[in-house]
C-alpha cells in the first residue's frame, strides 16, 4: 500500500487519530497516551491564569512533535471565538484553531451560523480553521466557502461516549463535502472510531473516551489501532451486503453428492 497521508493546512499526517488533553486525572498521563495512540494532533483550551495559586502547565506534557490544535471553547459568539483564536495564536504554537461556538449549556451543541462567521474571519487571517459543527450539509457547505481546512461533525454530544448517533448525516458530509471530515465528539469506544473510518471519515478526534479510561494509554493504543483498521477497511473497498445468505464455500462437489440416500 502506498503511504496513506491526510493533509490538512499543508501538514501531512500519517495518523488519523486526533487526541485531546481534557479530563485527565493527571496530566502526566498525556505523554503515554500520545505515544500509544500515534496521534500527531492534540487539542488544548485557553483559560485565565489563576494568579493566586500557580498550577501545573499542560504544555509540559505535550510532546514537541505534536501539532497543537487550540479550541475556542467558552466562545458563545463568532466575535468571542475570533478573540480566543487570536490569543491562542499569540501563544506562538502555530495557527491551527478548532472553532467551537456554543451557547447551549445542556447539550453543548455548536452554533453553525456563528461558527461559519468566525471561520471566514479567521481563514482570511491565515488560520488553519477546523470548525466543530452539527453534521449539517448547508453549514458544512458554508464552511467550505468560508475557507475551512477541515470540517468536524459531532457523532454525539461532547463527552457522552455514545457513538456515531448522527451516522446518516455524517455519511452525507463524507459524500458531499470536499474537505477532510474529522468526526469529533461522542466517540466512546474504539469500535465506534473504527465505524466512522469505515464510513470514509478522514480522521477521528477522541478525548473523553481515552482520558477517562482506567488505563488511558492502553485505550489510546486501542483507538489508534481501531482508526487504522477502519481506514484500511474503507480503502480496501468492502464487499456488497445481501439480505439472504450467500454461501462462502462452493455449492458443488459435496461428499455424498450423487449417492442414493
Amino acid at each position: 500500500m502506498t503511504k496513506d497521508i491526510l493533509t490538512i493546512g499543508g501538514l501531512e499526517l500519517t495518523s488519523r487519530l486526533f487526541t485531546g488533553t481534557g479530563k485527565y486525572r493527571d496530566d502526566s498521563l498525556i505523554p503515554g497516551v500520545c505515544e500509544a495512540s500515534g496521534s500527531q494532533v492534540i487539542t488544548v483550551a485557553l483559560r485565565r491564569v489563576d494568579l493566586e495559586s500557580g498550577t501545573g502547565n499542560v504544555m509540559d506534557f505535550i510532546p514537541r512533535h505534536m501539532r497543537l490544535l487550540p479550541n475556542t471553547s467558552g466562545a458563545r459568539t463568532a466575535d468571542e471565538a475570533v478573540r480566543i483564536a487570536r490569543l491562542a495564536r499569540a501563544m506562538g504554537c502555530g495557527d491551527w484553531i478548532k472553532i467551537e461556538v456554543i451557547s447551549d449549556n445542556r447539550y453543548l451543541l455548536p452554533d453553525g451560523y456563528e461558527t461559519a462567521k468566525a471561520t471566514e474571519i479567521l481563514a482570511n487571517e491565515g488560520f488553519v480553521v477546523l470548525p466543530y459543527i452539527n453534521p449539517d450539509l448547508y453549514v458544512a457547505r458554508s464552511l467550505v466557502d468560508a475557507g475551512a481546512a477541515a470540517v468536524m461533525p459531532l457523532g454525539a454530544p461532547i463527552g457522552t461516549n455514545r457513538g456515531i448517533r448522527t451516522r446518516e448525516m455524517v455519511r452525507i458530509l463524507i459524500e458531499e463535502i470536499d474537505l477532510p471530515i474529522v468526526v469529533d465528539a461522542g466517540i466512546g469506544r474504539p469500535s465506534e472510531a473504527c465505524e466512522a473510518m469505515e464510513m470514509g471519515a478522514d480522521a477521528c478526534l477522541v478525548n473523553t473516551a481515552i482520558a477517562t479510561a482506567d488505563d488511558p494509554a492502553m485505550m489510546a493504543r486501542a483507538f489508534g489501532r481501531a482508526v487504522r483498521a477502519g481506514r484500511e477497511a474503507f480503502l480496501s473497498g468492502p464487499g456488497a451486503r445481501a439480505g439472504m445468505a450467500v454461501a462462502s464455500s462452493p455449492l458443488t462437489g459435496f461428499l455424498d453428492a450423487g449417492t442414493a440416500a
Binding site: 485531546g20 481534557g22 485527565y24 488544548v44 479550541n71 491562542a88 499569540a90 501563544m91 478526534l205
Partner: protein
C-alpha cells in the same frame, strides 16, 4: 492603582509592568498570553508594558481541553 486582572480588581504598585506583575507571582512569561484593554500584548513587550489605573488585563494560558 487598581487594575482589573482576569476580571478581578487588583491593587498594584504604580508604574508596575506586566512582566513585573507576572514575576511577582512566579508565572513564567513564556507560558502565557496577555490582552490589555482588548489588545494583545506581544510577549516581547511584557517588560515595557506599564500598567495604568483602570486598565483591564487578561492573562491566559493553555489548559487541558478537547
Amino acid at each position: 492603582m487598581i487594575v482589573v486582572v482576569n476580571g478581578k480588581e487588583t491593587e498594584l504598585r504604580d508604574g508596575q509592568t506586566l512582566l513585573e506583575l507576572l514575576e511577582a507571582r512566579d508565572i513564567p512569561a513564556d507560558g502565557v498570553v496577555a490582552e490589555l484593554n482588548r489588545s494583545i500584548v506581544p510577549g516581547a513587550d511584557f517588560g515595557k508594558t506599564v500598567l495604568n489605573d483602570g486598565d483591564h488585563l487578561e492573562v491566559l494560558r493553555f489548559v487541558g481541553g478537547g
